[in-house]
């Protein structure tokens, strides 16, 4: 056994040495050659090359990814909002008062315009009515059950199929180079955790997001955590670096986003002293996905475009940089 271990240890060190010296340029098959792909490869080569002054030890290789619009589609509406609206419909029989009470009345009537006109306050009411009151484990099951059948309105695909194939390859490429990968999303942490390991290979403890408070209690003698209708943390904008520090405790060296809500996360990463990479997914492909920048309320990218130019953050053009957007494409 000891000899086997020695042999494995030796071969493994050979492999590691080989893989750090030469980057695997076949790691990103769904990426077209261009500045975005080059920036990724150059960054990983630099960070993993022991001979390079900017070499980063594996333990410090931390990459953060926004979720909505960065790893999966967020148009025409955030997936979690679609979930919340469906939950209102599912729960309506237990809430006869919703027939006359806004914003629930509008949800039940399919009047999205009125729902959105209710602004943040209205959405918060919907979230609290649909996301709180149950145990964390029960909520997790509700999310999984919904995702198993709910479909994207344009493609008719499961939402979990609406993940960007090039980003899955990027996650795998980073993972193969010993990066610790975290999701840092404005979306609900408990809405993501039930499925991120299966879809992205990212385990629950590496998911950071917005949250409501929970309370430890005994229910039927069993210790559980109950979800309370009270905001705990908003992981968006200036909240993203705060969330990163709470959960990771270390400045990332790579950050990927797609909207103005990701600016502070990119700024925080950008201010690191060693090698670092900041990228923004640009939704400029109306044919295969969607095209929007300043002209949307869902994943608006406006101030971030100017900052990207100023700071040298690399844009990822969906149209030009991605040979394929979704795995289900031919």
């Amino acid at each position: 056994m000891r000899n086997v271990k020695r042999v494995v240890g030796f071969l493994f060190s050979v492999m590691v040495a080989a893989s750090t010296a030469v980057a695997d340029t076949n790691a990103l098959p769904s990426w077209n050659d261009g500045p975005a792909k080059s920036a990724i490869i150059e960054f990983i080569q630099t960070a993993t090359d022991k001979a390079n002054m900017k070499f980063v030890p594996p333990a410090q290789r931390t990459a953060v990814f926004d979720n909505d619009g960065t790893l999966w589609a967020s148009h025409p509406m955030y997936v979690q909002l679609a979930f919340a609206l469906d939950r209102v419909k599912a729960l309506a029989p237990q809430h006869p008062e919703w027939k006359t009470k806004q914003p629930f009345k509008a949800v039940l009537e399919g009047d999205l315009e009125t729902v959105m006109a209710g602004g943040e306050h209205g959405l918060l009411e919907i979230v609290m009515a649909t996301h709180a009151g149950m145990t964390t484990e029960a909520f997790s099951q509700i999310v999984l059950d919904w995702l198993a059948t709910a479909k994207h309105p344009r493609t008719g695909r499961l939402y979990t199929e609406m993940v960007y194939q090039p980003m899955l390859e990027l996650l795998a490429y980073l993972r193969a180079n010993s990066f610790k990968i975290f999701i840092v999303s404005g979306g609900g942490i408990e809405f993501m955790r039930p499925w991120t390991e299966r879809i992205y290979g990212i385990p629950p403890e590496r998911v950071i997001g917005s949250s409501i408070k929970t309370k430890f209690e005994l229910r039927d003698g069993k210790p559980v955590l109950v979800r309370l209708p009270e905001i705990n943390f908003i992981d968006d904008k200036a909240g993203k670096p705060v969330g990163i520090n709470q959960h990771i405790g270390r400045r990332p060296i790579a950050a990927f986003g797609n909207s103005d809500g990701d600016i502070e996360m990119l700024q925080y990463t950008d201010s690191g002293e060693g090698v670092h990479l900041e990228m923004l997914v640009l939704h400029d492909d109306a044919k295969r996905e969607y095209a929007y920048t300043c002209d949307t309320k869902v994943g608006r990218l406006c101030k971030g475009l100017a900052l990207a130019k100023q700071r040298g953050w690399q844009l990822i053009s969906m149209k030009n940089d991605w040979a394929r957007v979704f795995a289900f494409e031919k």
Copy 2:
């Protein structure tokens, strides 16, 4: 290269198969044979044995450890309190008002009794005055600088030498069996993170603790997080399962504590459906460390003793189960 990978893959799977079939009984050299050591070995054998009905896939092998009194000594006072008192002394020249203002006056006069008589409110004032106002990075450096020279009052050893050798072996044993190990401490998360990787092999993202709020801002043009004098989260008692859920998002299968503050964490672990292990370090060794249960305010273990008996939580008797307490012992 592909062939090398295949060979390594094959050998590696042989090793994993071999190591899961037979537990390494030499993994805990500082543990005496007895019920505590047996409980650990039996638990790890069960969780890692694919042939066992209770086998736990590696991704779900999560173990949580309290820190003070479980991984390192917490008597005669919590290390973080010693740090805070030293910081008051170091900062006193900038705060002439402290000469007449409690609880600072008592700290400066070395009158610990008056300090403690101020209760939680007084301690909170000391913590906020010494732990807030600077960036997260500056605070981390202050902690490291202090730990580099501060000594335990009885042994004269660095605090980082006051870690329990048997627990270091337990951490290594769990790690060798693919467990994800987290610290879940009532102590400050940012007080632990700067050194837990070096001392315990536990990286910052796997440290959970109490925290104050932080704020993202630009200081001299550099994006930083500034520590605010405001409680964010208290990771103690019923807060421990809440903290576990926030950071890990999964019920642990092993929990190690030493005081009544760990009860809820053990209850939460105890209610899992598969194999699980709960243990409490019993400080019953006045000669090599300290002896206390109900009769202390620092790491009181009282209600937990009764619950341990009732629930079958395994006690770790420092006196009987540990052949060696500290690495510096002969």
